[in-house]
């Protein structure tokens, strides 16, 4: 919403400066977007007379001018404009002036050997339009020495406010003035509503052909004015419309635009000669079209409300008029329409037509329902004043909707909700200045909002009205009472695990990425997603179409992008939400990491201490297990099973589970088919764990860790080399060895795995070191031999392994 200072002062009697007005507007919720004060910006630019314009001695296209800028001392100025000539009046800027159109500050120049003390300016150089044809050529009566902006009527600052959608009343200069007056910086000027009596009935009848209950067209008024002259509107009106960015067209059109901004009352004026028969307000029929005053053809239908005559649709209600019945210089008889429309319906129609007009802006937010008839009379008066003519009586269909919405308001609400103590007198004055009617005298009063405030429903709204005018700065901050005792831990288990997982993975040299929640459909399908319930109906881009089922595809693509940029050894992780379906329960928090190239834990690339090897599945496994350990997950029950998810290499991946029914994640080398589908190069390994799937720790009554069992007796270590079938998992051997002597075995390490010469075809050698830790006394050789024999027997029984000869 834009307006000028002088326009505001039509409605507001104030001595306040522009700065105070702007600050006040922002303070009361009418946030000032900008103030354009051309008079201030163009202050150094004065009207000057070109005394002489001689050819430049060294340049054909330049002229050396002598200029009188009002002080009688001729100044020498070099000018390149083709229209510079002796005797003309133009605009002069002295050295030191900032030129907005060129973004330079002038200095005393020397142009091809001739000194130039300033500049003669074009409109474009002043930031006024695009006219580059030459320097401004002013009328001969322009006063030399006077600031140009003052003379040109540019001294009316333009204020633009960012209007919140709840305040349609301030889509008018009058409404803004009313709000400002309530703050006490000025007085609202009252102006009597004009009363137009009219001669005889309106010759055009109106019918409302929409159900009254629909509320689509509650009130509609029309008046005929005969014998108007539709010339240009007066200069003051044109200047104001131009200042706020509107193009003056003719008096009748300008009057409707002026009413829209001055009173927030959009109207429409038909050329009566182009309206056939009577007027009906109805729903558009499928297939109907209208060529609008905006020059576009609009396809109508559905629930759009239109104004039609015998020839068909003449205008779309509240949004755009038709070109066919528009007014031009030849117009002599007019029909002025003032109506009330349904805000939601106007918004819907406007969106469907893709039309944004000043009328739609107001109707969809809510035009004052009491302004239908007063607006018609005021517009008629303006037509009579500017265009002459004879009005008829108004023809009116429907009626102003009944509303006597009284709020039962306890004054204490202001203190309760805002924490601000104000006197009842001050609160009453504020409400009444804003047009509210306050009745009663006790602790509770009846407050009736004015017709132009559809946003005010209840107590909280009244509190807002009172405190925004009082100023939110008057509310002193007051501590939120502390909760009793020391701050308790507030994070939930999953919140704690999410945070820890991030720190744990970052401490393994991985970089945390935050990738899009939506991924390409094909990627989603590859990773087990792509279900219809997770496809966006309106993705912002085709590759951001599906809610991700996994973090891995986003990380894989990110790693490849880094590689393409010349960083082949990316190590990335993400901890975030993934989606199995569209229900809240289908959303899980996962942690995933990818390593590419030689991005090992210890580092990547070539190094004097040894070139880092290409990453493998064990790097991913290590990341996963380290993270689980950091989460405090007891890994005793964790099983590692061969083969992971479908997106992993079947022979180089594994599944992490707490029992077959509780898989928590996968790790391994990315499947070659996924590599190809995602256009990934090199080697990539990844893990992904569903944090929600990890069992919660057991609740214990105390935090005690139990006694540490530190044996006083020397442990002994024995090595065993087994030959087993190559498909036997090493983990089974380890498990069997540990299980053979539960009390004695303190640890089992696999220290060698070998296939080849010396080991039968189809078999492998797995060497383990078993640490035996006696608790009661030192082991005898016989006991050690017996334990070893049991280990060999148990491993043999469980895996078919034999001791290597």
């Amino acid at each position: 919403m834009k307006f000028t200072l002088s326009w505001l002062k039509d409605h507001l009697d104030t001595e306040a400066s522009l700065d105070v007005i702007a600050e006040t507007l922002t303070r009361i919720g009418l946030e000032v977007e900008g103030v354009e004060d051309k008079a201030a910006a163009l202050k150094p630019y004065v009207i000057a007379k070109v005394l002489s314009a001689e050819p430049h001695p060294n340049a054909d296209r330049l002229r050396v001018c002598s200029v009188d800028a009002g002080d009688g001392k001729p100044l020498q100025v070099v000018c390149g404009a083709p229209n510079a000539r002796a005797g003309m009046l133009s605009v002069f800027a002295p050295p030191g002036t900032y030129v907005p159109g060129k973004d330079i500050t002038l200095s005393v120049g020397n142009i091809r050997g001739v000194e130039s003390r300033g500049m003669l300016c074009s409109g474009a150089e002043l930031g006024l339009g695009d006219d580059h044809d030459g320097i401004l050529d002013l009328a001969q009566d322009a006063p030399v020495g006077t600031p140009y902006a003052l003379w040109a009527g540019l001294d009316d600052p333009v204020i633009e406010i960012n209007l919140t959608p709840n305040r349609p009343d301030c889509a008018s200069v009058l409404g803004i003035a009313r709000d400002l007056a309530a703050t006490g910086i000025g007085a609202l000027k009252s102006s009597a509503e004009p009363q137009i009596l009219g001669e005889g009935p309106c010759p055009v009848a109106v019918s409302l052909d929409v159900p009254a209950a629909s509320g689509l067209a509650p009130h509609f008024a029309l008046r005929f004015v005969r014998g108007v002259t539709n010339g240009a509107s007066p200069d003051w009106m044109q200047a104001r419309l131009r200042a706020i960015g509107l193009r003056p067209i003719n008096a009748l059109v300008d009057i409707t635009n002026y009413m829209t901004f001055d009173r927030g009352r959009p109207l429409h004026v038909f050329d009566a000669a182009k309206v056939a028969g009577d007027v009906v307000v109805r729903l558009a029929r499928a297939g109907e079209t209208l060529k609008g005053l905006d020059g576009r053809d609009h396809a109508l239908g559905g629930d759009m409300v239109v104004i039609a005559d015998d020839d068909g649709v003449e205008s779309v209600a509240g949004i755009v008029g038709g070109a066919a019945s528009g007014c031009d210089a030849a117009t002599t008889d007019v029909l002025i329409e003032s109506a009330l429309w349904n805000p939601a319906n106007i918004a819907q129609t406007g969106r469907r037509l893709g039309v944004i007009t000043d009328a739609r802006y107001r109707f969809e937010r809510g035009v004052d329902p009491a302004s239908t008839l007063t607006g018609l009379d005021r517009a008629t008066q303006l037509v009579l004043d500017l265009c002459g003519g004879t009005p008829t009586e108004a023809t009116v269909a429907g009626a102003m909707p009944e509303s006597d919405h009284a709020i039962d308001f306890p004054w204490s609400e202001v203190r309760r909700l805002a924490g601000l103590d104000l006197s009842r007198a001050e609160m009453t004055v504020t409400l009444e200045a804003l047009g509210f009617r306050v009745s009663g005298t006790g602790d509770r009063v009846k407050v009736v909002p004015p017709s132009w405030r559809p946003d005010v429903e209840g107590n909280a709204d009244l509190v807002e009205e009172i405190i925004r005018i009082a100023g939110l700065d008057r509310i002193e901050p007051k501590p939120l009472p502390p909760l009793a005792g020391i701050t308790r831990p507030t994070l939930t288990l999953i919140q704690k695990r999410t945070r820890r997982a991030k720190r744990a993975l970052a401490s393994r040299g991985l970089m945390e990425a935050v990738t899009w929640s939506f991924i390409p459909h094909d990627d989603a399908v590859l990773f087990g997603g792509g279900g219809a319930d997770l496809v966006l109906a309106n993705p912002i881009a085709s590759e951001l179409s599906d809610m991700r089922p996994s973090l891995v595809p986003g990380l894989l693509r990110a790693a490849q992008r880094n590689a393409d940029r010349g960083y082949p050894d990316a190590a990335l992780f993400e901890v975030g939400q993934c989606f199995a379906d569209d229900a809240p329960e289908g959303q899980t928090i996962r942690a995933a990491a990818v390593r590419r190239g030689s991005a090992n834990l210890a580092g990547g690339g070539r190094h004097w201490d040894g070139t880092a090897p290409t990453v493998d599945a064990f790097q991913a496994k290590a990341d996963a297990l380290a993270m689980l350990a950091a989460l405090g997950v007891p890994t005793g029950g964790l099983q590692v099973v061969a083969a992971g998810a479908d997106w992993l290499h079947p022979g180089r991946s594994g599944t992490l589970q707490f029992g077959p029914k509780n898989q928590v994640g996968h790790f391994g080398e990315v499947h070659p088919r996924v590599m190809k589908a995602l256009d990934l190069k090199g080697t990539l390994v990844a893990f992904e764990i569903v944090l929600d799937a990890i069992p919660a720790p057991k609740q214990k009554p105390t935090k005690t860790k139990g006694a540490a069992m530190l044996s006083d007796f020397q442990p002994v270590s024995r090595d065993f080399a087994f030959v087993v079938g190559r498909d036997v998992a090493a983990g089974e051997i380890v498990k069997a060895a540990a299980g053979a002597e539960r009390k004695l075995v303190a640890g089992v390490e696999v220290f060698d795995v070998y296939e080849g010469a010396g080991v039968p075809e189809g078999s492998k050698s797995v060497a383990i070191a078993v640490r035996l830790q006696p608790v009661e006394r030192t082991l005898t050789d016989a006991e050690i031999e017996a334990a070893s024999a049991r280990i060999v027997a148990e491993v043999g029984r469980k895996t078919g392994a034999t001791l290597r000869g």
Partner: protein
């Protein structure tokens, strides 16, 4: 000079000239070994008369002790020299660069870090963390929050929709974390103090908007919380978050469907050379929206607005991260460029806390 003196002189000379451990050992064996010259002399003591032994004994024993001592001394000198030689040979180039340690290489994304900072601050004021799903119903994202039917935010150009289900109902990607306010108020009786950080989505993409971004909301519901408390909470938060002693804030009345009264909050700052400083300057920068929870919203959650009251506020996490840490552009937040993460990210052990300072 006696024969003992001669022998001693001879042996000591041999000890002194032994060039290594082996030749020293040869000297020791020749003198003190079973058949050594000194050992042979010691054996003669047994056959002597007591008087003779008394005279010769100390002389021979003295000889043995001195030779033994000389050998021990020489052995130590030889060991010392050998160590010196070894140390002179054992040299590494300590300037050889190491691979960077994993803890030094890894990074926490600024969004995670800032969420941790925010959580630390609000936990101190008694707030817990509430979360909710990204895929929401229209009811929770809009209707319960007092958005009227036909509100522009419900349009395809503002909000992401999922495909309609069998009943024609379309779920949305939440446009704010406010639905979690509703979920919290419906699940938990006041007093309520929660912050709600999370991902949010709007159909928007340009230099300052991404279709996905992060927001944190706060919600306080009890029987007394008012705008004065809201102002205090936000001022304390801004001081703590931006790590300045004082901030100047401006509360401007504004409009949101789910709060009444509503306000937008600007923070005073200076901009010098692309760096924003709070607590000084003359510029105003909008940083958040807030207000008293709308009576209709309370009613929608089964709370009587005449009994319960409270406030809510919402801040863009990405936005305040940019303001505090000086990222000029939002889009790289989601591009996973390791150069950007390395530069703007945080080390894994930089865990924000109030006792240690948010940024250490």
């Amino acid at each position: 000079m006696t024969d003992l003196d001669t022998l001693e002189g001879d042996l000591l000379a041999q000890v002194a000239s032994a060039a290594d451990e082996a030749s020293l050992e040869a000297v020791r064996v020749a003198a003190l070994g079973k058949k050594g010259s000194v050992s042979e002399l010691l054996k003669t003591l047994g056959a002597m008369s007591p008087e003779e032994r008394k005279a010769r004994g100390p002389l021979i024993n003295g000889l043995r002790d001195r030779v033994q001592g000389a050998i021990a001394q020489r052995r130590e000198a030889l060991a010392e020299a050998a160590l010196e030689t070894r140390l002179a040979a054992e040299r590494i180039d300590v300037t050889l660069p190491l691979r960077e340690a994993p803890e030094a290489r890894g990074r926490i994304h600024p969004i995670s870090q800032v969420i941790d900072e925010i959580t630390a601050i609000f936990a101190d004021m008694g707030f817990s963390v509430a979360e909710g799903p990204d895929i929401e119903t229209d009811e929770l994202n809009f209707t319960a929050l007092n958005f009227p039917p036909g509100h522009p935010a419900r349009e395809m150009h503002d909000t992401f929709f999922l495909a309609p289900d069998a009943e024609g109902k379309r779920k949305v990607l939440r446009t704010h974390t406010s639905p979690v306010q509703i979920r919290t108020m419906r699940a938990q009786k006041p007093p309520i103090r929660v912050i709600i950080p999370g991902r949010t989505y709007r159909h928007d993409s340009d230099q300052t908007h991404t279709p996905m971004f992060h927001q944190v909301e706060g919600l306080v519901i009890d029987k007394a919380a008012n705008i004065a408390n809201l102002k205090w909470v936000l001022e304390e938060f801004c001081k703590a978050f931006f790590e300045v002693d004082a901030v100047k804030m401006r509360f401007r009345p504004s409009f949101f469907p789910f709060t009444e009264p509503s306000a937008e909050v600007d923070i005073q700052c200076s901009r010098k050379g692309g760096e924003i400083r709070f607590g000084e300057g003359t510029d105003w920068l909008e940083i958040l929206g807030c207000g008293m929870v709308h009576p209709n919203v309370l009613t929608n959650c089964g709370l009587d607005p005449n009994e319960f009251q409270g406030f809510a506020f919402g801040v863009g996490i990405d936005r305040i991260a940019m303001l505090k840490y000086g990222m000029p552009d939002l889009r790289p937040f989601f591009e996973a460029d390791i150069r950007w993460i390395e530069h703007y990210g945080f080390r894994p052990l930089d865990v924000p806390s109030l006792i240690g300072g948010l940024t250490g």
